[in-house]
C-alpha cells in the first residue's frame, strides 16, 4: 500500500499530473476516491475510475506476492547463482574442439552470437544445434525442442534430415555399446520424424516480420514449454540494406537484443543470433564494426 505513484503502470501523462498534484503513494490515491481525483487532476470520471482500478489491482498483486514470498524481486546469493549455472545442461555441438572452447557446449539462459564471413558454416552449425538440443538426457543432451527463425531462406530441410539421421545413428551406436535400459527406451522416441517435428520454423522476409515474430515469441514459448533453443539465422540481414536511418536501425537491433535476453532468462533457453561479417576490403565492415562493439559488452557481461 505504500507503493510510490511513480512506479504504478499508468499512462505517463497521468503519472505526471498525479505527481504535480502532490500525490506520493498509492494509499493516498485510493483514499481520495474517483470524484476527488477527477476534480484535482482535471480528468474525466471514467479516467479516474480506470486509474483507481489499475492501482487497486497492483496493490492486490503486491500483497499476494509478498505473502507468497517469491516474486520478481527475489534475492539470492552469488553462490546460488553459480550453482544454478553449473547445474544447467549444455547443448553439445558434436565437435569436441568447439565444445571444449565453449566449456561444454552452448549455454542455456544466455545469448550466443556467432559471427563469421559468409560460407564459413554458421547456418550449418545452427542446424546441428537445432538437432542436438533434442538429444535425450541419458545421452548427455537437454531433451528440448528448437525454434528456428530464418531471415535469409538458407534453411535446407534435406541437410537437416542428413544431420538428424547421423545423430540418431550416433546415439544408436552408444546404446549398443552400453546396453542400458534407459538408453534403449529413449531411442524409441528419438527418431528422424520426432526430431523434425520438434523444430519450429518461422520464415521472416523483412525486419518488420522479424520484430513481430520476436514480440510473439514469449507466448509461443509459454505454449511450447519444452523449447530450449531459439535460433535467429541472420539477425542483421534484414537490417543491412534499405535502411537510411542508421539510428533507427541501432535502436531496433538493441531492442531486439534486449527482448531476446529477457526471453532467454525467463524461459531458460538459449538464444542464438547469427551475423555475417565481411572482411576489411568492403563497406560492410564499416557498418559491422559499429554493431560489433555494442554486442560484445553484453556477451561479456553474461558470460
Amino acid at each position: 500500500m505504500q507503493r510510490e505513484v511513480g512506479s504504478l503502470p499508468l499512462a505517463p501523462a497521468l503519472r505526471a499530473k498525479l505527481v504535480a498534484a502532490g500525490f506520493q503513494t498509492a494509499q493516498e490515491l485510493l483514499e481520495t476516491g474517483p470524484c476527488g481525483l477527477s476534480k484535482e487532476l482535471g480528468i474525466s470520471k471514467e479516467e479516474a475510475l480506470e486509474a483507481l482500478q489499475v492501482v487497486r489491482q497492483e496493490c492486490h498483486g503486491d500483497a499476494a506476492r509478498t505473502a507468497g514470498g517469491s516474486g520478481t524481486t527475489r534475492k539470492c546469493t552469488a553462490l546460488e547463482l553459480l550453482e544454478e549455472e553449473q547445474a544447467q545442461g549444455f547443448i553439445i555441438t558434436f565437435c569436441s574442439a568447439l565444445d571444449n572452447i565453449l566449456g561444454g557446449g552452448v549455454q542455456l539462459t544466455k545469448i550466443t552470437e556467432i559471427c563469421g564471413t559468409p560460407g564459413v558454416g554458421k547456418t550449418q552449425l545452427c542446424m546441428q544445434l537445432a538437432v542436438d538440443v533434442q538429444i535425450p538426457e541419458c545421452f548427455g543432451g537437454v531433451a528440448g525442442e528448437a525454434v528456428f527463425i530464418d531471415t535469409e531462406g538458407s534453411f535446407m530441410v534435406d541437410r537437416v534430415v542428413d544431420i538428424a539421421t547421423a545423430c540418431v545413428q550416433h546415439c544408436q551406436l552408444i546404446a549398443e555399446a552400453h546396453q542400458e535400459e534407459d538408453h534403449l527406451k529413449a531411442l524409441e522416441t528419438f527418431s528422424l520424424e520426432s526430431i523434425l517435428s520438434h523444430i519450429y520454423y518461422f520464415r521472416c522476409r523483412d525486419y518488420i516480420e522479424l520484430l513481430a515474430q520476436v514480440y510473439l515469441l514469449p507466448d509461443f514459448l509459454s505454449e511450447h514449454s519444452k523449447v530450449r533453443l531459439v535460433v535467429v539465422d541472420g539477425i542483421a540481414f534484414p537490417f543491412r540494406h534499405d535502411f537510411e536511418d542508421l539510428s533507427l536501425r541501432t535502436r531496433l537491433l538493441n531492442g531486439l537484443a534486449q527482448q531476446l535476453i529477457i526471453i532467454a532468462h525467463d524461459h531458460k533457453s538459449a538464444s542464438h543470433g547469427f551475423r555475417d561479417v565481411q572482411p576489411p576490403a568492403v563497406t560492410q565492415n564499416a557498418e559491422d564494426t559499429e554493431m560489433n562493439p555494442r554486442k560484445r559488452p553484453r556477451r561479456e557481461e553474461e558470460k
Binding site: 497521468l14 535469409e152 530441410v157 534435406d158 522476409r205 514480440y215 555475417d276 568492403v282
Partner: protein, 294 residues
C-alpha cells in the same frame, strides 16, 4: 490502415487514430516507451497492442521441419528443384538448382557457363514432371550479344539432348517464344531492368527463371580501384533486390561470374591442356561483396 478490423480495445483504436499512426510498420518501429508517450496509454495496453498487431502480421506462419520435409506440393515444397537437363549434374546437385535464392555459376572463360545457362532456359519450359517449371525465362546480357544462333541449335537438338522426355511433348513446346532477352550494359539500365521489367514478367507468371550473364561485367569498367565502397554498395543492393524477387516468386536466379584462374608454374609444366572447371554454388547475399574478379 483500418484499425477497426483489429481485435483491440476501442480506447486503443481511438488513441491510434488520434496519434495518426497509419500502418503496422510505424507501430513496430517505435519502442514501447515511445508508444506510451505518443498514445498516452499504459504499458499493459501497449503490450496488448503490440501482441495483437504482431499476431495479425504473423498468424499461421509456423511450420515444423517435418512439415517442410513432407511437403510434396510443387508450389511450396523445398524438394522442388529446377533440373539442368543432365542426369549427372542433377545427381550432383540433388535434383537441380533450388527455386529460392541466387545460384552462382562461376568458371574460367570458355568453360561452358553460357551453354549451361542456355540449356537451363530451355529446361525451365518443360512440365514439372520432367524437372521444369512450365514457364519462360529472362536472359539478361551485360557484355556480349545474345547467342541466338546457338540457342536455335539447342532447340533443334532437344529431342537428342532430352531423351527422357517423349517427343510429342518436346514438339508442343515453343521454346523460342518464352525466352525474353534483355541487354543491359550499364548499372542504370540493369537497375531499371530488375526493378521494373522483370517484376512485371514475374507477376504475370510468364517467367520462372532469371539468368544474368554476367554480373561481374557490369562492375569491371565503371569502377576504379578507389571506388570499391560504391561498387560494394551497388552489389549489395542488387543482391538484395534479386533475393527478394526470388523469394516472392519462387524463381531461381542464375548469375554467371567469370573468374580468372591463378596458375602456378609447376602446373603449367605438368600439362599443357587442363580441363576447365566450373563451379556452381548457391550464393549467400553477403558474399557478393567479395566479387573482385576482373
Amino acid at each position: 490502415m483500418d484499425w477497426d478490423q483489429f481485435d483491440l480495445n476501442p480506447k486503443v483504436i481511438a488513441a491510434l487514430k488520434k496519434a495518426d499512426i497509419k500502418s503496422i510498420k510505424e507501430i513496430l518501429n517505435l519502442s514501447g516507451a515511445d508508444l506510451q508517450r505518443l498514445m498516452k496509454l499504459s504499458s499493459a495496453d501497449i503490450q496488448c497492442l503490440l501482441k495483437t498487431v504482431s499476431h495479425m502480421l504473423r498468424r499461421n506462419s509456423m511450420l515444423t521441419a517435418l512439415q517442410l520435409c513432407q511437403d510434396k506440393d510443387h508450389l511450396t515444397s523445398q524438394h522442388q528443384k529446377l533440373s539442368l537437363g543432365c542426369s549427372v549434374l542433377d545427381t550432383l546437385l540433388k535434383g537441380g538448382i533450388p527455386l529460392v535464392g541466387i545460384t552462382e555459376l562461376a568458371g574460367e572463360s570458355s568453360a561452358g557457363k553460357t551453354q549451361i545457362s542456355l540449356q537451363l532456359c530451355l529446361c525451365v519450359q518443360y512440365p514439372y514432371k520432367y524437372g521444369g517449371l512450365e514457364s519462360g525465362a529472362v536472359y539478361i546480357c551485360t557484355e556480349d550479344v545474345f547467342p541466338s544462333k546457338r540457342l536455335q541449335q539447342l532447340i533443334d537438338q532437344q529431342h537428342k539432348l532430352r531423351v527422357d522426355v517423349p517427343a510429342e511433348i518436346i514438339q508442343k513446346i515453343k521454346f523460342g517464344n518464352s525466352i525474353f532477352v534483355e541487354h543491359a550494359a550499364d548499372l542504370d539500365t540493369f537497375h531499371n531492368c530488375i526493378t521494373k521489367r522483370i517484376s512485371l514478367l514475374l507477376t504475370r507468371g510468364m517467367v520462372r527463371l532469371v539468368v544474368i550473364d554476367s554480373i561481374a561485367a557490369l562492375f569491371r569498367c565503371e569502377f576504379g580501384v578507389s571506388d570499391s565502397v560504391m561498387k560494394a554498395r551497388y552489389l549489395q543492393t542488387f543482391g538484395a533486390q534479386l533475393h527478394s524477387l526470388s523469394t516472392r516468386f519462387r524463381t531461381p536466379i542464375m548469375c554467371i561470374n567469370q573468374v580468372t584462374d591463378a596458375v602456378s608454374e609447376s602446373e603449367v609444366a605438368q600439362c599443357s591442356c587442363r580441363p576447365k572447371g566450373i563451379q556452381i554454388q548457391p550464393v549467400n547475399i553477403a558474399c557478393w561483396c567479395f566479387w573482385a574478379s576482373c
